[in-house]
């Protein structure tokens, strides 16, 4: 295959090869054979991963398997490159520990990680998430009932949703003390506005014909609300819940930077950075990532079950 054909048929691989050759050459010239070999290994893994994925993507086969396998190969490639780079170039573990060291640390400090998880995710994030979302739902129904409120509150809510709300964390820590209550309060404020705006928008997502049909059934306000408008609002509500789920975790962790008892993920991260125990920091990040993905995934599954009728859920999956 000529270079030109490679560029047009597989631009990504061509780019990787070009970059790899350049960097290996630079390593050979400026820092010796050892460094150049590490760079070579790095690019070999990267290009190998990409080729494997290209092959997987081009193969006729079950879409579901491919949607699972290709990201997995990509992730493993990244991890392998990380490990090779850190060990090969001799990066200090104080700056970036290799994935294997993080895995070892993770398995050794399970009790600490669990304690922090309970403090931050269960007590702080989850309770705040539930309170905030329920409050926003109720407010949204009230706001929706009165058009004047809707026209007044919605622009304000949109404005507040764009603000750096995380800034109120120090104030709420001052009001509610150092324990999880203040973190839950931060989460409540953070999730409230995105949830409110989405729900109000969703409650308006019924067509005149649907509302007329309810009227011909002689359905009152509450019946219409529960049988038509709330179900119709579900895609919007779940959109809000998804946004809120990531905000909740961020709020709970960042609020701990402003004061916390001697446990919690935010506390552990900020103190471990000071102690240069970066492997523990990364272990906490792994916990946060797993918790965040699980949280998001659970909401997505629930959404699939509740809004099975929506076009965005029907298009794929079978």
């Amino acid at each position: 295959m000529t270079a030109r054909a490679l560029v047009s048929r597989a631009p990504l691989v061509a780019f990787q090869i070009a970059l790899g050759v350049a960097l290996v050459a630079k390593g050979l010239v400026s820092s010796g054979v050892g460094t150049a070999l590490v760079t070579l290994a790095l690019f070999a893994v990267w290009i190998g991963g990409t080729l494997l994925n290209s092959w997987l993507a081009a193969r006729p086969g079950v879409l579901r398997f491919k949607a699972f396998a290709i990201p997995l190969v990509f992730g493993l490639t990244l991890l392998a490159m990380w490990e090779i780079a850190v060990r090969g170039y001799g990066v200090s573990t104080v700056i970036l520990p290799p994935p294997s060291a993080i895995a070892v640390r993770f398995s050794h400090s399970l009790p600490i990680l669990w304690e922090d998880f309970v403090q931050t995710v269960i007590k702080g994030a989850l309770s705040g998430f539930v309170i905030g979302c329920v409050a926003a739902l109720v407010t949204a129904v009230v706001v929706d009932r009165f058009d004047f409120l809707r026209r007044g509150l919605l622009p304000v809510g949109n404005f507040v949703a764009a603000l750096p709300i995380i800034g109120i964390a120090p104030i709420l820590v001052m009001w509610f003390g150092f324990d999880w209550q203040s973190k839950a309060a931060v989460v409540v404020v953070m999730v409230f506005f995105p949830m409110l705006v989405n729900t109000v928008e969703g409650l308006h997502d019924t067509s005149a014909m649907q509302r007329d049909l309810m009227r011909t059934y002689a359905a009152g306000y509450w019946t219409t609300l529960f049988k038509l408008r709330l179900p119709a609002a579900m895609p919007f509500i779940f959109n809000g819940l998804k946004i809120a789920s990531t905000l909740a975790l961020i709020g709970a962790i960042v609020a701990e930077f402003f004061g916390s008892p001697v446990r919690g993920m935010g506390f552990r991260i900020s103190t471990s950075v000071g102690l240069l125990a970066l492997d523990l920091v990364w272990a906490e990040i792994v916990v946060a990532a797993i918790a965040g993905s699980a949280f998001y995934g659970a909401i997505a599954l629930l959404e699939k079950a509740v809004t099975f009728w929506h076009p965005s859920q029907r298009g794929h999956g079978h």
């Binding site: 026209r151 622009p155 764009a162 603000l163 995380i166 001052m174 975790l249 935010g266 920091v281 965040g292």
Partner: protein
């Protein structure tokens, strides 16, 4: 225009609630002080006192406004006590991160739209990357980058970049894919190269999506810059003002920094809104 009266009403109600809350939250302290001096506080005195404390639990709105006025207009801009100076420190990091994030997001989106393998391998990780609370590891990024000799603006910009690239990727992938099959076929019948197809069809059709994403990215970028200032030990910037205020119980300072952050966010998002209107009008896309 129809929205002005309701919005003003809502804002007025919020201010009224705020004043009432200030009385309620600050009253214990006021009563405490009065009891120590063997005085009885009348209702009017109590209200006046709660609205004019030095370190109130909740400062009254006029106290925050006074502080804002004093630290923006009455101080010289270069002074470390000037809020304009701190806002500029934060804003410069925000803009640097926003620029980097937009560029990265744009490049990733083009790759994802044009290269099938990237679509299938990178896209799930882009989404997964956002479930990691990056703000939580901001301190580590700052400290690590400091250790390798990168300090000042860049570490904060890196955090802002991480937060702002995601909305751009998602929006631009959607936008670059928004031309219909018929429009793409039309380009093909004109024998357009893929570069021409990109510049003349895909890029223009993605503009509305781009601006919507840029607004979100700007707000996220500001949050990143503020949080990025927390671990540097409260040197400069709005985040540093927040942290210093929370250390010393200077609630008025915290609130004024918050309001400044809100003003900066509103100004930046508004600026993008104006750009959006001008661009879309010139392209004939506004309705």
């Amino acid at each position: 225009m129809r929205a002005v009266v309701p919005v003003l009403t809502v804002v007025a109600v919020i201010v009224a609630i705020w004043y009432a809350a200030a009385v309620w939250l600050n009253a214990p302290w006021a009563r405490d002080m009065a009891a120590r001096q063997d005085r009885e506080l009348g209702a009017a005195e109590l209200v006046v006192d709660t609205w004019s404390q030095d370190k109130p639990k909740l400062p009254a709105p006029h106290q925050v406004v006074t502080e804002l006025w004093e630290t923006t207009v009455e101080k010289s801009v270069t002074s470390k006590r000037s809020l304009v100076y701190h806002a500029w420190v934060t804003l410069s990091a925000t803009l640097a991160g926003f620029g980097l994030g937009t560029a990265l997001g744009f490049a990733l989106a083009v790759g994802i739209v044009y290269i099938r393998v990237m679509d299938m391998s990178v896209m799930p990780w882009v989404i997964a990357s956002q479930t990691i609370p990056i703000l939580a590891i901001a301190p580590m990024i700052i400290v690590v980058l400091n250790a390798v000799g990168v300090s000042g603006l860049l570490p904060k910009a890196v955090i802002s970049m991480y937060l702002s690239f995601f909305p751009v990727v998602v929006g631009m992938v959607k936008g670059l894919r928004s031309p219909s099959a018929m429009q793409l076929d039309q380009m093909r019948t004109w024998n357009a190269t893929s570069a021409q197809e990109f510049v003349k069809l895909r890029l223009p059709s993605s503009m509305p999506y781009l601006f919507a994403s840029l607004k979100i990215a700007m707000a996220a970028s500001l949050v990143g810059a503020i949080v990025g200032e927390l671990p540097t030990g409260a040197v400069a910037g709005l985040g540093a003002r927040l942290l210093a205020g929370s250390y010393y119980g200077q609630t008025i300072q915290i609130w004024s920094a918050l309001f400044m952050a809100a003003a900066v966010a509103a100004a930046m998002v508004g600026l993008i809104g104006v750009l959006q209107r001008v661009t879309l009008r010139r392209m004939g896309l506004d309705r």
